[in-house]
Symmetry: C2
Subunit: 211 residues, 2 copies
DNA sequence: GCCTAAACAGACCAAACGGTCCGGAAATAT
DNA sequence: ATATTTCCGGACCGTTTGGTCTGTTTAGGC
């Protein structure tokens, strides 16, 4: 058994992801995916019971990949400094670099794509979306709580709201990047977000030393 | 002539807008709109030639309404202060109040809804989206350029990027608000954005005096 | 080498969907 | 009052779309 089933399954997921990011979930038609990937209906419905089944698999995979990138970047930042504030600044800057290195297929978030068609999905999918965003918040919030303890902010702030700010900036930047056809948006706006953190915790202005 | 055609036309636009914000453009089916609004096919296609025709009308109306709210808020801010920096802070705070007063139907931006299905639309619609976001940037950028002249920023900044920051935060907050089912998101994140501006231009921390 | 099950191809189907058409009511112009 | 035009109801139509079904190929297990 197992000819190369997982390979085509991944191809389907990749193709579907591309189309969802361009056309939205409802706009992504199965026939279009078949043509895009170069397979037939039989193959598709062998791997996925329904379109909604694909939607969930797509979302789970995206959330997992995202969590991994996130964890790696975080680990890298924590290796480069012991100070939570510096870790956070490095973390943000690593994301900036990531997006500045990108081009053409303007970044977009599959989660956001789902959110704007939220009522199409069942409770399980909506719950998954909620939990994914909640996890991002929790991880960053934890870090900001450490930061606040060691570095008195110039203004009283909520670690949770600061944590959400990162995601908010990213998601918002993706939208503007697509609408304005400008891939630099994500990196620029993350830099602005970092600037906010630096001002808030009174980090002395320094030239860009990293990388 | 003119029984009450414009009234039903508006009803259709309102209903379609609601559905687009919940289901996305492709997810918004005409039959569903008919049921939601309480009319028939004949009525719909009397007012709109095609679904795409509706999409454009919807977008134009939304952009116009948005521009109006924007202009009114700006005028109000300019009436309350002569200093461009204070005007900007008041402007942001007025938006905060607007969103803090909202409840249930979590705010969402029709433009963003379109952006995540961008490839569905023709060049005209894409151009309209681009121009609308460009207008927002231009108006805020103009203000930030005045601000920078009168108030030296603690860090070198780009007025255009600062202007985009406002839209970015709004759009991003809408997404998180929907996903997390938390209507307070928009107001909170705008407050954070305002905090950034205050820190950047060294505004002394003051209690909330306005309104 | 043969059996079994996964991995696909592709015709087929029912429902949904966007759009058309025509008849009739309702309002206005003359 | 009557003609005319806007406005709308609702049956109808062709295509698209998600999904099914049957048959065929391919890759291991023994």
């Amino acid at each position: 058994m197992r000819k190369d089933g997982i390979a085509t399954r991944e191809k389907i997921l990749d193709g579907a992801r591309d189309l969802v990011l361009r056309l939205g979930y409802s706009g992504m038609k199965i026939d279009h995916v078949l043509e895009h990937v170069g397979i037939t209906k039989g193959a598709f419905f062998h791997h996925f019971k329904t379109k909604e089944d694909l939607a969930k698999a797509l979302l789970r995979r995206y959330a997992d990949q995202d969590a991994q990138i996130y964890a790696e970047t975080r680990a890298q930042a924590e290796k480069l400094s012991d100070d939570p504030l510096q870790q956070m600044l490095i973390f943000i800057r690593l994301f900036e670099d990531m997006f500045n290195g990108m081009t053409e297929p303007y970044p977009g978030c599959l989660l956001a794509s789902y959110v704007y068609e939220l009522q199409q999905f069942d409770d399980e999918t909506r719950g998954l979306l909620h939990d994914t965003f909640a996890r991002w918040r929790a991880l960053l919030q934890e870090k900001f709580e450490l930061i606040v303890k060691q570095h008195p902010p110039k203004t009283p702030v909520s670690p949770a709201q600061l944590a959400d700010g990162f995601t908010v900036v990213l998601e918002g930047a993706f939208i503007l990047a697509k609408a304005m056809n400008d891939a630099r948006m994500a990196g620029e706006q993350l830099r602005l977000y970092r600037n906010h953190i630096e001002l808030l915790f009174d980090v002395p202005a320094q030239g860009r030393a990293a990388a």
